[in-house]
Amino acid sequence: MLPVSYYLIVAAIVFCIGVYGVMTLRSGIMIMMCIELMLNAANINLIAFASHFSQVNGHVFVLFSIALAAAEAAIGFAILMSIFRSKNNVNIDNINILRW
C-alpha cells in the first residue's frame, strides 16, 4: 500500500479544485458539480484512513455520505429549477440584491 499521505494529498487537491470551482463558476449546475467534487474528496479521505487502519467504520460513514450527497443534490437542483423559472437562466452572480 501507498503511504496514506499520498491519498490525503490527492484528496486535498481535489478539494481545492472543487473550492475554486464553487468560487468562480457562473452557472448553477457547474457549482453543483463542484460541490459533489468536494464531497468526494472528503470521502477519499475517509476511505484512505479506514484502509490504513483496517477498520470498517470509515466505509460505513462513506456510504452515508454518498447517500446524503445525493439527497442534497436533488434539493439543489430543485432550487435551481425555481431560479430558472424566475430568471430564465441559472447565472448565480445575478442574484445580488442584498448588496451595498
Binding site: 499521505s5 478539494f15 446524503l68 430543485a78 423559472r85 452572480d93
Partner: protein
C-alpha cells in the same frame, strides 16, 4: 446580464484556492509526514482480514463487515437516512413541480 468585476475576483479566487491547498498540504505533511510512513500500527504478521465466499474466492474489501455494521451498530442512522431520502424526494418534487395557473 450585468458585468461584474469578474477578472479581479477570478484572481482572488485562484489565489484563495492555492493558499487553501498550501495550508492543507502543510497540515497533512506536518502531521502525517511524507513518503514512507512510520510503520503502521499493525505488524506485518497480522493477516489482512480476508473474507472467504462459498465458492472459495477471497475478498479483501470487507463488504461483509460493512453490511454487518450497517444493520447492527449503525441501524438507526440507516433508518434516519431513509427518512432523509424520502424527505429530499418529496421536497424536490414539490419545489420543481410546474405551477398551476
Amino acid at each position: 446580464m450585468e458585468q461584474l468585476p469578474s477578472k479581479g475576483w477570478n484572481i482572488i479566487n485562484l489565489v484563495t484556492a492555492l493558499l487553501l491547498m498550501a495550508v492543507l498540504v502543510f497540515a497533512i505533511v506536518s502531521v502525517v509526514g511524507l513518503g514512507p510512513l512510520v510503520p503502521s500500527t499493525l505488524p506485518e504478521s497480522v493477516p489482512i482480514d480476508y473474507t472467504v465466499w462459498e465458492d472459495g474466492s477471497m475478498d479483501a474489501s470487507g463488504i461483509e463487515h460493512v453490511g454487518g455494521l450497517l444493520f447492527t451498530k449503525y441501524v438507526i442512522p440507516f433508518e434516519v437516512l431513509a427518512l432523509i431520502l424520502l424527505a429530499a424526494l418529496l421536497g424536490s418534487l414539490y419545489m420543481a413541480k410546474k405551477e398551476d395557473e
